[in-house]
Symmetry: C2
Subunit: 397 residues, 2 copies
């Protein structure tokens, strides 16, 4: 598993497109964004008070206030019409432009009107106090947003502040999702014939693809026929950045899937079989530059593997080099868990009151996943975990 995660890194990246700010949340910038001008662009007051020359306030105190003549007032969003001369003060709103001559703003709380047109100041200010510099948020040319990291709400705010209303981002990777199996029918099928099951995996995979920044493309249900699968894969190849196949659980079907993938194009199969439970019969391939991921047929195994192996491939194709953080919590394990060395085990758990309780059930059961709050990973080198041991639960968001 460690090898697969570190080593299966297909080079494909989606092209770059420009999107407006309102559609840019979680999109991945293709290049760093720099500030076109200094921000905020002018020296601003950070408090309500009076713009002054700091030197005029040196040595003042409650017992020995300084007196300054109010020579004007700054209005929000307007150029100050006045220069601060020695002995003068200009009324300032928070966010107003610092007038020429002033180098600090004394907070209104440390002033009082002594007589009309004159204030007393009871606390000295240092130069720069109460002021944000013209380029304190960003200098012109500063990188304000890095590439490779999905845009967060505050990043959009920074871009708006800088007047950047369109961002060059990687296109969402087109991820074609195939389901295979003679027994699989569309979710909309009202009445099932004996032996039929509705396609649960495709809907869940589409959601995981969207979470990874991809755009799911329904590939439909392909019967257990290697010729049909190969044909469907070939047709999807030119319009896909990633292909995902839930490949049937029986050995024969899995082998047929592998054979169809192997014929698709070079370099072909990267690995077939992963030391993970559930999810062993996983296939990783790259065909004509397109990553192809063959998942187990059990919906639950397929989702576990796709979350661990498939989502990073989709993110990478979309230019994301900084994976968003996953929610997790520390908890104590309610019971012993056995595991084979050399195999990574993914165990679904419920979490409450600091205790992680495994949800058991056959890997064919989706209800295990819907009942779980998250999962724990028993690493390859471990032979199990003891009841009471502290575990990291990765939480489903």
């Amino acid at each position: 598993m460690a090898e697969a995660l570190a080593g299966f890194r297909p080079a494909r990246r989606t092209p770059v497109e420009a999107v407006p700010l309102a559609a840019a949340l979680r999109r991945v910038p293709a290049e760093p964004v720099t500030a076109p001008h200094p921000l905020p662009g002018f020296a601003r007051s950070t408090v309500d008070g009076y713009a002054v020359r700091a030197a005029d306030t040196y040595g003042v105190s409650e017992g020995l206030p300084g007196y300054l003549t109010v020579t004007g007032a700054v209005r929000m969003g307007a150029e100050p019409g006045v220069t601060v001369v020695p002995g003068a003060a200009v009324a300032m709103p928070t966010g107003g432009v610092l007038p020429p001559g002033a180098d600090a703003v004394v907070m209104i709380e440390y002033t009082a009107e002594a007589m009309p047109g004159t204030i007393e100041v009871v606390r000295p200010v240092a130069p720069g106090e109460g002021v944000v510099r013209a380029d304190e948020d960003a200098r012109a040319g500063d990188i304000i947003i890095p590439n490779g990291r999905p845009l967060r709400p505050q990043d959009l705010g920074m871009l708006a502040a800088a007047g950047v209303t369109s961002v060059r981002v990687h296109a969402r990777p087109l991820v074609t999702i195939f389901s295979t199996g003679d027994e699989v029918v569309p979710p909309g099928t009202d009445v099932l014939r004996p032996g039929q099951v509705r396609d649960a995996t495709a809907a869940a995979l589409a959601a995981l693809v969207a979470d990874a920044g991809g755009s799911p493309v329904p590939g439909g249900i392909v019967p257990d026929d290697p010729g049909a699968l190969e044909k469907a894969l070939r047709a999807a190849l030119p319009a896909s950045d990633v292909i995902v196949i839930s490949a049937g659980s029986s050995v024969g079907v899995r082998d047929e899937t592998a054979a169809a993938v192997a014929r698709l194009g070079p370099p072909g199969i990267w690995c077939h079989g992963l030391a993970i439970k559930p999810g062993k019969p996983t296939l990783l391939a790259e065909c004509d530059g397109v990553p192809v991921i063959g998942l187990p047929g059990n919906p639950r195994s397929a989702l576990v593997v796709f979350r661990l192996i498939g989502a990073p491939v989709v993110r990478l194709a979309g230019g994301c080099t900084v994976a968003p953080p996953e929610a997790s919590t520390r908890a104590r394990l309610s019971r012993d868990l056995a595991s084979a060395t050399g195999r990574l085990d993914v165990v679904q758990v419920k979490v409450g009151a600091g205790v992680a309780t495994p949800v058991f059930g056959l890997s064919a059961l989706l209800s295990v996943l819907t009942a779980a709050d998250g999962y724990i990973i028993i690493p390859e080198e471990a032979t199990g975990l003891d009841a009471g041991s502290e575990v990291d639960v990765i939480l489903y968001a």
Copy 2:
């Protein structure tokens, strides 16, 4: 802050609408969803092997195999055409329908062809082994998805499996976002006049609203004029589930915003001023049943407060009663942090190698938020945190 979080719980909920499964990720079910039929609906094999009567395998071993006659094979997705009689075995693919008469499936690994038409079995199976029951994933009428919790990828899989292709969910709350201030101009403004700043808050708030499951509605920029603000708020009220105002940082403007909100409708202002830094000048109100949140004028303060106070209000309006988990990490604080008792402090930090390093800067600076990986909360009762103390960093996703 604790009072505000627990006490400001406006009763407004959005109406219910039906959405197709493909558009249901993270939507909030308005009622529990039950399984219309048992799932998977028939007893299925969980392995490749042979359907048998378990009793026929009792006592067999490597040294003393049992012999069974192969009387047929089950095909995927088809009704078994054969009944398993004593002494018989029927070949089974994983996921196939268990034939009548059989009560277990022996894995192919524990069988071998003894002669054409006969297998030997070297390990006994118990009744139910290798089989998932017809209602093991869900019984008809079982709640398969709870209301109030945003739908996760695996929940969509479960709904698809059950044939539920449309879900009744709460409509996304319509959150009208106003910016106020004579100095504020749209982000698309190319050249600023002295004293003007582009509206950074609205873009970032829209993203936080979307993250909380809401639908942001741009209310535009309102000048510092109480009449204009009241008019704009009144016009927005009928079409809003929540109203958010970034309300100007100067004392006069804040008072004018409060006055405009107070005139909007009953019950009116719930609180004005919160013991939080940054974000003290926050206003919470409910007017004619619509929650109204007045945020500080500084973009950074506004975003900090909206994340803590506003997002939960939006989620609640959208029927979400189970907040999705937030990503967080434990880290050691790089330096002492002072805090006043009785005030909740939100400190932006960078995280690396297990160390949380505060990013300092005036609350007017957005760059502090874009540089941060997350934030820590110094609770009301604390007077500060010592360097080296372990803190929970809530990570920006």
